[in-house]
């Protein structure tokens, strides 16, 4: 397992994504899947950076671990306000330019693209896990 702790600020984004990518690349995900994992890590982090600690500084811990049978678990932990991304509403992606809002799209990507997403609130912290398998079959984007 590897982990880093970064300030909950947009300035931490590129370093954090690079950390996850370097771990993930070793595990044999194809480039397309790697990019999707990067995308979802960004979306979760940006959401935390923007909303978890309103008006005050905070930290985010990101850890990566590989399990049996090519499983990758990325866990993102913050001590900010409780937020379960799994309970958020999906955006209406059928609207035209005038009606369309982009709010909620990042979380929608996470729910669509990751093999499994788990959330728990414990010790006044948000724990979000994104679990992917290198040998996973069906890709949501192709359905």
């Amino acid at each position: 397992m590897q982990n880093i702790v970064v300030p909950a600020h947009l300035k931490s984004l590129q370093k954090s994504v690079a950390f996850v990518s370097s771990f993930t690349r070793e595990l044999g995900f194809d480039p397309r899947r790697l990019s999707e994992i990067e995308l979802c890590v960004e979306e979760v982090l940006v959401n935390i950076f923007n909303y978890a600690y309103p008006g005050e500084p905070g930290e985010v811990e990101i850890s990566c671990r590989s399990g049996p049978e090519g499983t990758l678990t990325i866990e993102i932990v913050d001590s900010g306000i409780p937020f379960n991304i799994l309970s958020s509403d999906d955006p209406d992606i059928s609207l035209n330019i005038d009606e369309r809002h982009v709010g909620g799209l990042g979380i929608y990507f996470v729910k669509q693209l990751m093999d499994r997403v788990e959330y728990r609130r414990e010790d006044n912290k948000n724990f979000l896990s994104m679990i992917n398998n290198t040998t996973a079959g069906g890709r949501p984007a192709d359905k």
Binding site: L10, L13, Q14, V17, P31, R32, S35, E36, E38, L39, E42, E43, V46, F49, I93, S94, L95, N96, I97, D98, R100, V102, L105, G106, Y108, F109, Q112, L113, P140, A141
Partner: protein, 110 residues
């Protein structure tokens, strides 16, 4: 992220390369807003060298598209590939915007 622009008749062709993420999206939006401010109304965004876009990038694109619409302008795209194409598809942006396979195809429409 790098942006280069050229004018083809009335169309501003904007080639964007690299990554549009939450860090670079504001620069992308500002850059295009400046062109709108300079009077440009028709944009072709070439994405053949764009490797990555997140929801922050889509938010910028939508913001620009909304401004252009109030000015009776238009923004179309060409040469989406890989992860960028996937993101357009999943988000529904592939349906709300016109996307061409090549720059040539796009320019023929104007």
């Amino acid at each position: 992220m790098e942006i280069s622009k050229k004018k083809e008749k009335d169309v501003l062709v904007v080639s964007v390369s690299g990554r549009i993420d939450a860090v670079t999206a504001p620069d992308f939006e500002k850059n295009l807003s400046e062109s709108i401010g300079a009077g440009e109304k028709t944009f072709l965004i070439k994405m053949n060298q764009l490797e990555y876009i997140s929801s922050a990038g889509l938010r910028s694109i939508l913001a620009i598209a909304k401004v252009l619409k109030t000015k009776e302008g238009k923004m179309v795209f060409s040469e989406l590939h890989g992860p960028v194409k996937d993101v357009f598809k999943i988000s529904g942006f592939g349906s709300i915007f016109t996307i061409y396979d090549t720059e040539e195809d796009a320019l023929k429409q104007f």
